[in-house]
Symmetry: C2
Subunit: 192 residues, 2 copies
DNA sequence: TTCAAATATGGTCAAATGACCATGTTTTTA
DNA sequence: TAAAAACATGGTCATTTGACCATATTTGAA
């Protein structure tokens, strides 16, 4: 089960075999069932998590009951609740499994140790931060300027593989659009 | 003129006097007139910029002519076009001055040198990245879930000092709401 | 396999929003 | 100081969007 992660590491970094094993050795593996929570609102996010397989989502629920999705995390990506992880404060979001799957987790102290110890891992971590900033900015622009149809198109382009794995209402929750609006525009696209 | 920046540095870091001077010494100062561009779309962002005084904005213009504002940068904050700066690729946003002011700039190579040289500056830089991630996430949630009125309230709460310095249409461009909607809800608030 | 729950779609209606235009005011700049 | 530009507000109207409800279909769990 750690094999998939190790080959990910070899692909993404210049780590030698010893480094790969070292990082891998501190990982705790965990299985998730469908709808199982990785982290609940109010809990403290104590781990960095790598998704080996499956599909997770990070979302928050407004008082009126709407679910607003911050991100989807498919296999070979990482997830955590940054604010909570950084400050070890209660999380304001939930993370749960849309599909059953397996993840690897590192305790914050362990991971920080690895960052000090292994410069190539630090480089990877910085790349991840940089990508995260870019995609947040991109998403803000899209959210501000695009019509629902453009947002949907953009989503389809950006995450083509995710589309068939997600119920439509979650895509709506990600785009900030009602389910009704989404089905409407899909219907309109059918007619073309 | 560099004095303001130096006292900012002393407040925000553990830098000793030599460190403060060293960072300050590599800065290039520049004055900006009202509406003057710091960076145009298509140009490469070659500097990190600290705003000594004045008020800048980062925004992009959609084909239909609407201006969507990514961020405001008042005195004692930093600004740059991250994507462009990181990859030295053409910027997709403009940065210009809403108010006349003065900024300090560091060439990327110089700043990276300082980061290597001065660990406390590295810490400050990482703090800035962390804050930037948090505020982006917060903004995404607000944009997704709040009504225009809530967005406006949120803006007033978060940036109380900025409000009187900004034309309303820019606040609209930041919130992703039409100017009309903004004046409407303000009118409604007056009546309460 | 069967039943229950979740899901996608559609209809109708009311409310929110934006586009367009005009006006009075304030701010800039020549 | 005077003219020009930018700005905030309001009116009207068409369009978009969401809320609510019903239904058919798909999916998941017992």
């Amino acid at each position: 089960m750690k094999a998939a992660f190790e080959s990910y590491l070899r692909q993404q970094t210049q780590l030698d075999e010893a480094g790969v094993r070292r990082v891998s050795s501190l990982a705790i593996s965990r299985k998730l069932r469908r709808n199982e929570f990785l982290l609940r609102e109010g809990e403290v996010c104590r781990h960095k998590t790598f998704i080996v397989n499956g599909l997770l989502r990070t979302y928050s629920v407004t008082p009126d009951g709407n679910e607003h999705i911050l991100s989807f995390s498919p296999e070979n990506t990482w997830t955590l609740e940054v604010e909570s992880y950084d400050r070890q404060a209660p999380s304001r979001s939930h993370i749960d499994a849309i599909e059953p799957g397996e993840v690897l987790q590192w305790l914050k102290a362990d991971f920080n140790g690895l960052l000090e110890e292994i410069p190539q891992l630090k480089i990877l971590a910085e790349q991840m931060v940089s990508r995260s900033i870019h995609s947040s900015r991109q998403r803000i622009i899209t959210t501000l300027s695009a019509t629902p149809e453009q947002k949907y198109e953009d989503f389809v382009q950006t995450y083509p593989g995710l589309l068939p794995r997600l119920p439509l209402r979650m895509i709506a929750g990600y785009l900030g659009v009602s389910l009704k609006t989404l089905t409407r525009l899909r219907h309109a696209q059918m007619l073309r």
